[in-house]
């Protein structure tokens, strides 16, 4: 089986590289099994082309495979040969069953967490002066209207939050209000969950449409109080 040794080592080495080494290279990610299979198929094709370039190498390559399959003079490998003949159809049957079985999982959902706001809500600046009194007042409004869900600590863990999916935003998390402009928050607070575009899955958000209950000035003050309380700053373009 000398001529087969190198190709087998090459295939195993290639698999190990794709499966275990490549994902650990910085900036890389685990490869999907279909891609690994494609690469192994290319490697195998390369080996077959290389081994069949000349008549001698061709015989040296195919000979052992042929002998193994026909069971001619293979001695102790006979048991392995029968094992392969039994396992191969079983494997094919199992794979076919797996790929035809009906999934028990609900439909997957994708939701854009920060969808684009309507044009009239981009680039607005907070008209309320940033004074200690206004921030204080904003925090007071926040405590009354927002904290039941978004939490007294601005962490999204208010007492009313537990049943809601999506969970109320955690303002202390740097990926929420810290990466948004004040005008974006103004839109989200004014229009609430029902104001989201379709990619924001508006039918699931419990966020109230505060424009029907609170004047704009209060909303701007709440925004100030939120940034101050969560120790974050709004994103700016400067």
């Amino acid at each position: 089986m000398g001529a087969l040794g190198k190709p087998i080592i090459l295939m195993v080495g290639m698999y190990a590289f794709l499966k275990f080494v490549l994902p650990n290279i910085p900036g890389s990610a685990p490869l999907p099994s279909s891609l690994i299979f494609l690469y192994l198929l290319l490697t195998a094709s390369g080996i077959v082309i290389f081994e069949t370039l000349s008549g001698e190498s061709k015989d040296a390559f195919w000979g052992p495979i042929q002998r193994f399959l026909t069971g001619e003079n293979i001695g102790g490998l006979q048991a392995l040969r029968y094992g392969v003949f039994i396992l191969f159809p079983l494997l094919v049957g199992w794979q076919t069953y797996g790929s035809t079985a009906v999934s028990d999982l609900p439909p997957t959902e994708s939701r854009t967490i920060h969808p684009a706001p309507p044009g009239e809500y981009t680039g607005l600046s907070n008209p309320v002066p940033k004074t200690p009194e206004n921030i204080m007042q904003g925090k007071g409004f926040y405590a009354a209207y927002c904290s039941p869900c978004h939490g007294g600590n601005f962490d999204g863990k208010g007492p009313a939050a537990r049943g809601y999916i999506p969970a109320p935003a955690n303002f202390a998390d740097p990926t929420t209000i810290a990466m948004l402009q004040e005008s974006y928050l103004f839109w989200r607070i004014k229009k609430g969950g029902v104001g989201l575009p379709i990619e924001g899955a508006p039918w699931k958000s419990a966020m109230p449409r505060w424009e029907v209950e609170l004047p704009d000035e209060w909303i701007w003050k709440i925004i100030m109080g939120e940034y101050d309380g969560a120790h974050q700053s709004p994103r700016t373009w400067e």
Binding site: Q66, L69, T70, V92, W94, T96, Y97, G98, G163
Partner: protein, 277 residues
């Protein structure tokens, strides 16, 4: 006679084709069912529509969903009695029954519970199908039970303030209270003749479901603490009635295994012939 390697070449091409098909098909690994959906187990011999304690319920897997005070619209409430609901469901191909179970320290005449479904293909906001500003939503179908009424009301809504009982009442409900726990069974035919108003339950298909509960206790002044929009609510979750068992997967697997066996047989035969010639 063909040379042996030519035969092997042919065989390899077929084999690679088969292998590719297998790999693309992929392996489906069975996954644990978390509480993201209610599964209505298929049973025979009639669902226990009047009996929340029937033995048949033990064959339905329980799913637990967290509840929150309703905050989307005024009037709000900051705290509610019921923190979780445990839901089971059964169906027999004709009728479906949904058992909602929750802890409530006191039995009150105004204790109430409700199921909510999206109707048809249009999405609906979980808060009574509240109109959405950028998406055209659909109505919700609400199955409402109240202890003192001892029956269900089949209703529709498309936004707060639009809740209305239907002309044709298709839903039944029965509540039993014991040991600080309410068990309420809602039941209906899987499909009704009114697809515009009623949720239609097709076995095998996922639909959206949400829950609401009112604790009918009164405060010191004799006023109800939870009433109307002041209630415990859940987000949207999934509901699916089991489809009848489908054994076609085993048939396909047997065919594939037989083909693979035949392929091996032909391969060996050809190779042996090639050698002896």
């Amino acid at each position: 006679m063909k040379p042996a390697n030519q035969i092997i070449g042919q065989v390899l091409r077929v084999g690679i084709g088969v292998l590719t098909a297998i790999m693309i098909g992929g392996v489906t690994i069975g996954s644990a069912q978390e509480s993201v959906s209610v599964r209505a187990t298929l049973m025979t011999g009639g669902v226990p529509v009047d009996d929340p304690s029937a033995a048949a319920w033990s064959s339905a897997p329980p799913a637990t969903f967290p509840m929150s005070p309703q905050v989307h619209w005024q009037n709000r409430i900051q705290e509610v009695t019921v923190k979780d609901v445990i839901v089971r469901a059964l169906h027999d191909g004709k009728q479906v029954a949904v058992l909602v179970e929750y802890a409530d320290p006191t039995q009150d005449p105004d204790d109430a519970a409700a199921l909510e479904f999206m109707v048809g293909d249009k999405k609906a906001h979980f808060a009574h199908g509240q109109p959405m500003l950028q998406v055209e939503g659909g109505p919700v179908n609400i199955w409402f039970w109240k202890n003192k009424a001892a029956k269900a009301v089949d209703m529709n809504a498309k936004g707060f303030g639009t809740l209305k009982a239907q002309e044709h009442q298709d839903v039944k409900a029965k509540g039993v209270y014991s040991n600080g726990t309410w068990k309420v069974v809602f039941s209906r035919d899987l499909s009704t003749g009114h697809a515009e108003e009623d949720v239609q339950i097709t076995p095998g298909q996922f639909i959206s479901i949400a829950f609401a509960v009112w604790d009918g206790r009164k405060d010191g002044a004799g006023d109800l603490v939870e009433k109307g929009s002041q209630k415990a609510v859940s987000s949207w979750w999934y509901f699916r009635a089991d489809a009848p068992p489908d054994y076609s997967g085993y048939m396909y697997a047997a065919i594939a295994a037989a083909l693979a066996l035949g392929f091996q047989f032909v391969l060996i035969r050809k190779l042996k012939k090639g050698q002896s010639a």
